[in-house]
Amino acid sequence: MKYCLVVDDSSVIRKVARRILEGLDFEIAEAEDGMQAMDSCSSRMPDAILLDWNMPNMDGYEFLTKLRKMSGGNRPKVVFCTTENDIGHIAKAMDSGADEYVMKPFDKEILSSKFGEVGLV
């Protein structure tokens, strides 16, 4: 079973994402911001990370930049999942090492499609 870390400061989004991804046979862990996500990755590196952009303490962009410098940090497939939907943000996320990008709101089909793109579904 693949292991996915869901990083979002909204408990509702985390709950919805968890339900969808568990339905796609992922084991799920949650983090509320980039700091918590760093701790989580330090103790167990996930196969995939569903990552919000705007969060307190450490945002998704900063987290991704730090993650890719960590030992083993290039391994997880990172799918940004954010309300930021302009081309500039999307290009910035992809250039900084994201593997895919989801614009909120999302549903099961979209998450399934995007995780399929990165070879995890």
């Binding site: 081309i87 999307i90 895919e100 089909e109 499609s113 995007k114 399929g116 793109e117």
Partner: protein, 279 residues
């Protein structure tokens, strides 16, 4: 599924949406309604129909939606596009002289995602094409949906189904809340209105015909006639792709399967009429 239940669904959808389904579409009805049964926690299609007929408008709408949805999305089902890239185009390139165009027809293109997906794929394969021109022709029976295809304008939901983000960045610009595909891509597709029941002889000869997820709406004799017409319009070494749930089996003898991949259909020459022995 029993005959009374099938007939109940057929009558309901006819009354509700004017759609003609026949009893031989039982597999289609069951496949489309089973997920609704599960999601609505009904015990069976029969129970679902009872709830709809007793005035549950939400359920009634779900049944209509399930039986009428004719959707499309970018790189739908993925596998046909893998076959296009790995089998069909390489085989055609090896057989066609460089000066001869490769002609492709998307026979039920809906809002354009299929032909546009092919264009994006062909761009990736440019080196393999050896300078060969590839024509993409795309038709649909609906003028409204063709207008949408020609506009190349998609909402956020549509560009997130099947379309990799790198291709979104490469081919689309943001227009308000929507995403517009490059006009260079739109111009490379010849969109035209066409009813598959019409005479296809004026369309010319194609090397590849994509006819996916449309023949399920026709009865078997009509499917047979359409298959025969497509076989006549294909080059002898051409290819036809159907939807994942569609098959020529038991409908026509004008196609056989590709030796490497049974999803790819190859045209057979029309059988000569048997000679009548004369004295």
């Amino acid at each position: 599924m029993s005959t009374p239940i099938i007939n109940r669904v057929i009558q309901f959808i006819s009354r509700s949406a004017g759609i003609v389904l026949t009893a031989e579409k039982a597999y289609f009805i069951e496949a489309r309604l089973s997920p609704v049964v599960r999601e609505e926690k009904a015990a069976s299609i029969d129970e679902l129909m009872t709830r709809a007929e007793r005035g549950d408008r939400r359920i009634a709408q779900r049944i209509v939606d399930a039986l009428t949805t004719n959707e499309t999305f970018f790189f739908r089902d993925k596998t046909p596009f893998d076959h296009f890239r790995n089998i069909m185009i390489p085989e055609l390139v090896s057989r066609r002289p460089p000066g001869k165009a490769i002609r492709i027809w998307c026979a039920a293109c809906s809002s354009g995602q299929e032909p546009f997906s092919l264009i994006m794929l062909l761009d990736e394969m440019k080196a393999q094409l050896g300078g060969r021109n590839v024509e993409i022709h795309a038709s649909d029976i609906s003028e409204a949906i063709l207008s949408k295809a020609k506009a190349g304008l998609y909402n956020q939901f549509e560009v997130q189904r099947g379309l990799p983000t790198k291709l979104l960045l490469q081919y689309f610009t943001k227009e308000g809340d929507n995403w517009k595909i490059s006009q260079d891509v739109v111009r490379r597709v010849n969109f035209f209105k066409f009813n598959l029941l019409e005479d296809m002889r004026n369309l010319g000869t194609f090397d590849i015909v994509f006819c996916r997820n449309v023949l399920i709406y026709f009865d078997r004799p009509t499917r047979g006639k359409i298959f025969a017409q497509i076989a006549d319009r294909l080059a002898p070494d051409g290819f036809m792709m159907l939807g994942g749930a569609e098959s020529t089996f038991g409908v026509t003898d004008r196609f056989t399967s590709h030796p490497k991949e049974r999803m790819i259909h190859l045209p057979l020459a029309q059988r000569a009429a048997p000679r009548i022995a004369t004295a």
